[in-house]
């Protein structure tokens, strides 16, 4: 999992900004079978969380109906300077964390 995140570097306090995220992941549905008929185990990113200075901003419970390489865009009302921490967790227990500092102009 390698996340790519688009966060504005400098904003005004109280401003609402869009945060765009993309992470590469197969999002294996668990519905597919190999050629010899064996089920391929599900492996999807089931949880995404975003916190700003420890406070929850946005959370997503994802299922197999989310496309491979999940894209997620949400908003943040920037209360002041701080750090946005985003976390992706998959079925295999792999966790990716991305941090972005937001400064006030």
């Amino acid at each position: 999992m390698k996340p790519r995140v688009r966060v504005p570097g400098s904003v005004k306090a109280g401003e609402i900004v869009e945060i765009r995220t993309l992470v590469n992941h197969v999002m294996e549905t668990g519905q597919r079978r190999t050629l010899d008929g064996r089920a391929i185990a599900r492996n999807i990113i089931h949880t995404f969380t975003a916190t700003f200075d420890g406070k929850e901003v946005f959370k997503a419970d994802l299922n197999s109906g989310i496309s491979a390489n999940p894209y997620l865009a949400f908003h943040l009302k920037v209360p002041g300077p701080g750090q946005l921490v985003m976390t992706w967790t998959d079925d295999a227990g792999v966790i990716a964390v991305e941090k972005a500092d937001i400064a006030i102009a």
Binding site: E56, A60, N63, F74
Partner: protein, 163 residues
């Protein structure tokens, strides 16, 4: 007396045997049904139940959600989607969660998104998989407990459940 007792025991044994046979049979039937269901998803199987679970006793109001999905999706593997719920997003009145349901995917629950007043706006964008032409149903719950819903059909040319 003894004879009657023996007959009774035999009856009980038969009963127990018969009951376990029924349990086995129904278990088999249930498994077969599950297998058929996952092989050929039927339109409308499961998603209403999920909706009832999310709603509880609440009655959703139609509209007040802007749901942006393509009318025709050529590739069901990645269908762009954006949902916007009108809300002041203050500490006392904000959108708590937004559920995305599919009416014909093998798994009806696509995702659940949770907002906070820190979100500023109740907007979420993602890309979803659609196995076939079907409806997308979104249900949003406000912090006041109120539910709103929106529904849109997406025609799918190539399904998103290849394999």
């Amino acid at each position: 007396m003894r004879a009657i007792g023996q007959i009774r025991t035999a009856n009980r044994r038969e009963l127990v045997l018969g009951a376990s046979a029924v349990v086995l049979m129904s278990d088999l039937v249930a498994r077969m049904m599950v297998a058929t269901a996952s092989a050929q998803p039927v339109q409308g199987a499961g998603w209403q139940e999920l909706m009832r679970k999310i709603l509880g006793d609440a009655k959703p109001v139609q509209g007040q959600i802007k749901l942006e999905v393509p009318e025709i999706a050529e590739n069901g593997n990645t269908v762009p989607f954006t949902a916007t719920v009108e809300s002041p997003m203050t500490e006392v009145d904000y959108v708590k969660s937004l559920h995305v349901l599919s009416t014909a995917n093998p798994v009806p629950a696509i995702a659940a998104f949770h907002f906070t007043p820190l979100s500023g706006r109740a907007i979420v964008s993602s890309r979803i998989r659609l196995a076939q032409t079907q409806d997308i149903v979104v249900l949003a719950q406000h912090s006041t407990g109120r539910f709103v819903m929106q529904r849109r059909e997406v025609k799918v040319t190539i399904g998103g459940c290849g394999g």
